[in-house]
């Protein structure tokens, strides 16, 4: 075996001056070596045929996957014929004869981290390094497209891909991984739905019984003060839109996707990006399960799995953990000269109220109280069917006062004399919270990276003045799917997705809406005035583009400049304490696992957050994950109750020193939204 190895070794050396790690092939099977030798030969045609149609049968499963070097060009055939990377082609070619994901029981694949430590040195040989590790190596599954996140954008991309496959009579395997216990479990949104993208994706949605049944019947807009509500002309035009539960719609989309042959795996969290030797994304790895709080392996320890895709689409929603890494890694914001992203935290409850007070189809938005003039945000109240009502408060995360507690502000809101009577006598069905993008047009990053793209709210296509992001997220998923299909089918580049975005109605819509949110940097009244100007006079044709202010985490003032806010106690009828609300979110994580909230510097909470900012994380977290409790010496220490986490990502965004890193816990945990 080693004779073969040295042969290949030398051949490879001729092609590249970089050194070759001798252990690379040490553990490979004899067949494996054989195929490697044949692939080194510059003549491509014969290796392809010998690999693909080997009559011996056992070689029908190539034990390694090889991806073309560098460029996003998907086709192995063309790749192989130019440059020295001749041996990358044929392996790829064989893989592509299998359209559905199949298992690779490869004992020697490692993720990108190993690559970057310098194990794999052969420049043009595109493969995985095989470092000897004491841990059992992961199984690897191959797909044509791997999508992270079964939300509106991820599922729209999956459905669109399969539709195009049917149209062109080919088949590409599509896998969607979802960290929630079921599809829709982590989906939370207002939601007044604009069916524009769904009409394009599944025009028969009405006949196919999509859970879209409540058309908007009235659109109200109030400016609240502590005791009064002033009706203002509604800036929204919701004619033709529907009030829905996005969680239910996503579940329906999941069903549609599965009908078309998409493989959806809920309960699996994508925790790392896999890279090849050329720093191209080749897939994701799910996290290991069954690790105890102290890091040891429990009896049901299960190693994660690698899901490799020729194209990887990240559809994790706002502030996606992997998406953020990729954005930083490839400098995607700088590439598009985009500003930083700005965010808001939305806290929502679904109520069941008295029949007499319920009016299906009513849409209400409010501005003003309980938030002050320097804090952007507002509330929403939508009447769905079955006597259910969605009510929530959205608070922009660039608020200045570190004593602000968005959850308590929401409880205050419900006591407003115009809102409280509606809710009295009703019961809360569900509670939840999630951050959303407010950066709009100015913050859209370059969404294509080598090996894939970012879609949906992970990139940030929410139309802030409309407060709708579902339709643009779905459309971005569809555009990415179309580009990915061409990558797989014709060997074009994922850049087509960027072109597609800029030529689509997403771009036009977000461009028109770009100045509304930044106008509020100047305060509530100037913001309203400028927005009115934009809306009624300029009609989106403004020559200027206003910029965002400081990033959200930098906008927090020190605690000295403000005084603590006294929030009223919950009354148990209309307002509630956090544990009660949390119970209604059905959130749970296995308690015996390491905390998924990492402190980059464990000393900063007590050294900076607490003294300078009065521990804001204990206030903005809608799940009471962060608490400062006195220890044995009586000093306040940060306690992280990771089990409560609602996966909203507010801490990742708002921590003043960006010290808190939200990583993904074991799959299957987190909230259990069914009607949010």
């Amino acid at each position: 075996m080693f004779r073969f190895l040295s042969k290949s070794n030398n051949t490879i050396r001729k092609l590249s001056s970089k050194s070759f790690h001798p252990t690379l092939y040490a553990s490979s099977s004899p067949h494996h070596c054989k195929s490697k030798i044949s692939t080194i030969h510059p003549q491509i045609a014969s290796p392809i045929s010998s690999n693909a149609f080997d009559p011996s049968g056992s070689s029908s499963k190539p034990s390694d996957s090889r991806y073309p070097t560098g460029s996003p060009n998907g086709s192995p055939f063309f790749r192989a014929l130019d440059r020295n990377s001749s041996f990358s082609g044929p392996q790829m070619a064989v893989n592509r004869f299998f359209s559905s994901g199949y298992l690779l029981n490869c004992k020697n694949l490692r993720n990108g981290k190993g690559n970057r430590r310098g194990f794999l040195r052969v420049g043009s040989f595109v493969g995985e390094s095989r470092a000897f590790s004491s841990e059992p190596d992961r199984e690897s599954m191959e797909y044509d497209v791997v999508i992270v996140g079964a939300g509106p954008s991820g599922l729209s991309a999956a459905i669109r891909l399969k539709q195009m496959c049917r149209a062109k009579d080919v088949d590409f395997s599509v896998c969607v991984v979802e960290k929630g216990a079921e599809v829709g479990a982590h989906i939370l949104s207002g939601n007044v739905f604009e069916p524009r993208a769904l009409d394009e994706l599944l025009p028969e949605w009405k006949q196919e019984e999509a859970p879209i049944n409540v058309p908007v019947s009235s659109d109200k807009f109030w400016l609240l003060t502590k005791d009064r509500a002033f009706s203002l002309p509604s800036p929204f035009d919701n004619k033709g839109n529907y009030i829905i539960s996005l969680s239910q719609l996503v579940r329906w989309l999941g069903g549609k996707a599965e009908e078309l042959g998409v493989e959806i795996y809920p309960g699996f969290a994508a925790s790392e990006i896999l890279y090849d030797a050329n720093h191209k994304v080749i897939g994701i790895g799910t996290n290991d399960m069954g690790i105890a709080k102290d890091g040891s392996k429990k009896e049901n320890f299960q190693r994660g799995v690698e899901l490799r895709g020729r194209v990887t689409l990240l559809a994790e929603g706002c502030r996606g953990s992997l998406s953020e890494k990729v954005l930083r890694d490839y400098n995607l914001r700088e590439k598009a000269q985009a500003q930083h992203q700005t965010y808001a935290l939305g806290i929502k409850e679904v109520w069941e109220i008295d029949e007499g007070k319920h009016k299906t189809g009513t849409v209400l938005h409010t501005l003003g109280w309980p938030l002050d003039h320097k804090t952007y945000g507002g509330s929403f109240l939508y009447h769905m069917n079955d006597r259910q009502v969605s009510i929530g408060l959205v608070v922009a995360l660039n608020y200045h006062n570190p004593f602000l507690n968005p959850y308590e502000e929401f409880q205050k809101l419900k006591h407003h004399p115009a809102i409280k009577p509606l809710l009295e006598g009703g019961t809360v069905l569900q509670y939840g919270a999630r951050t959303l993008n407010e950066g709009g047009f100015q913050s859209i990053p370059y969404p294509v990276f080598p090996g894939g793209a970012i879609i949906g709210c992970s990139a940030g296509f929410l139309n802030v003045p409309k407060i709708k992001g579902t339709h643009t997220a779905m459309k971005s998923g569809m555009l990415a799917a179309e580009a990915a299909f061409d990558v797989l089918h014709e060997g074009s580049s994922m850049e087509k997705y960027w072109d597609g975005l800029r030529n689509s109605w997403i771009w036009e819509e977000l461009h028109k809406a770009r100045n509304y949110r930044p106008a509020f940097e100047y305060g509530l009244v100037p913001g309203l005035a400028l927005s009115a100007l934009e809306h009624y006079v300029l009609k989106g044709r403004s020559p200027l583009t206003l910029k965002h202010g400081k990033p959200d985490h930098e906008a927090t003032d020190v605690a000295q400049l403000h005084s603590p806010i006294q929030y009223p106690k919950p009354d148990g009828i209309v307002s509630f304490d956090v544990p009660t609300s949390l119970y209604r979110s059905n959130t749970n994580h296995d308690h015996d696992q390491p905390s998924h909230l990492h402190l980059r510097d464990p000393q900063i909470p007590e050294r900076v957050n607490l003294p300078d900012f009065a521990g804001p994380e204990s206030r903005y977290c809608p799940a009471r994950v962060y608490e400062y409790v006195p220890d044995e010496k009586g000093e306040l220490r940060l306690q992280i109750n990771a089990q409560n986490c609602l996966h909203c990502k507010a801490c990742d965004i708002k921590d003043p020193k960006q010290n808190i890193e939200w990583t993904v816990p074991e799959g299957g945990g987190g909230p259990g939204y069914s009607a949010m």
């Binding site: 994901g101 799910t286 049901n300 899901l307 069941e352 059905n586 959130t587 749970n588």
Partner: protein
């Protein structure tokens, strides 16, 4: 030896239960369902026995509406070799389930029948005991430890009872119901879930098994409005006091 494991599809343990607005039952639509935790423990035990070489096959069985297939697929993904689904849309009470299990046992002839001690939706804690009675098999309920001796065809079961721990020796074939501390169920891995999607699940109907699933329970009578009315009725109409 074959092991048959009965599993039930119930409302997930982390979900907040709500009563339907018409008070006719618990809200189960749009609510996450999963395998009963005790059934998971039972399946895990069966898989461990098989992995130790003492059994040849693990068969997962479930009764209920068509969505039970999802739970069975999870069972297959955990490692069960085969799955059987008895399709029944009506509510199944423990005695009906026990009768169906008896019929399946007559078909498959397993050496061991493992169930969870109770389901977390009805907390009946009856099916295991009933099926043991119908089959006339020995039963070891609330098992916290199970040791099989294949040669002597005996299962030693440590049970958690009110007074502490009780150890029983059961001749096989036997019925065992699992308690919480028996084991920690394994996770179903992604590759196994994928493989389980294509496995065939055998379907039966109660009619095919010659089992009458009509419940023997019937609630009859009148709801009275006050204690006085109750006393009056008992005294004057029923003549019992």
């Amino acid at each position: 030896m074959k092991i048959m494991v009965a599993i039930k599809r119930v409302v997930d343990y982390a979900v907040k239960i709500r009563v339907k607005s018409d008070k006719s039952g618990v809200e189960t639509s749009n609510v996450k369902m999963s395998m009963n935790p005790f059934c998971e423990i039972g399946l895990e035990e069966a898989l461990r026995i098989k992995e130790s070489g003492l059994a040849s096959e693990v068969i997962a069985v479930s009764m209920g509406p068509s969505q039970c297939v999802d739970t069975l697929r999870t069972g297959l993904a955990m490692g069960a070799d085969r799955a059987i689904h008895v399709e029944a849309s009506a509510t199944l009470y423990p005695l009906s389930v026990a009768k169906l299990l008896k019929a399946l046992v007559d078909v498959e002839k397993p050496g061991l029948l493992i169930l969870g001690k109770q389901a977390i939706d009805d907390d009946c804690n009856q099916t295991g005991q009933m099926v043991a009675g119908l089959l006339n098999w020995p039963q070891g309920t609330f098992a916290s430890k199970v040791v099989l001796d294949k040669e002597k065809e005996v299962a030693t079961v440590e049970r958690e009872v009110d007074g502490g721990l009780e150890t029983l020796c059961l001749d096989l074939p036997a019925v065992i119901t699992t308690d919480l501390r028996l084991n920690q169920p394994r996770y179903a891995t992604l590759p196994n879930i994928m493989k389980a999607k294509s496995k065939v699940i055998k379907k039966f109907t109660p009619q095919e098994l010659n089992v009458d699933i009509k419940s023997d329970l019937e609630v009859q009578g009148v709801i009275v409005s006050s204690v006085d009315e109750l006393i009056d009725k008992l005294k004057n109409e029923a003549h019992v006091i």
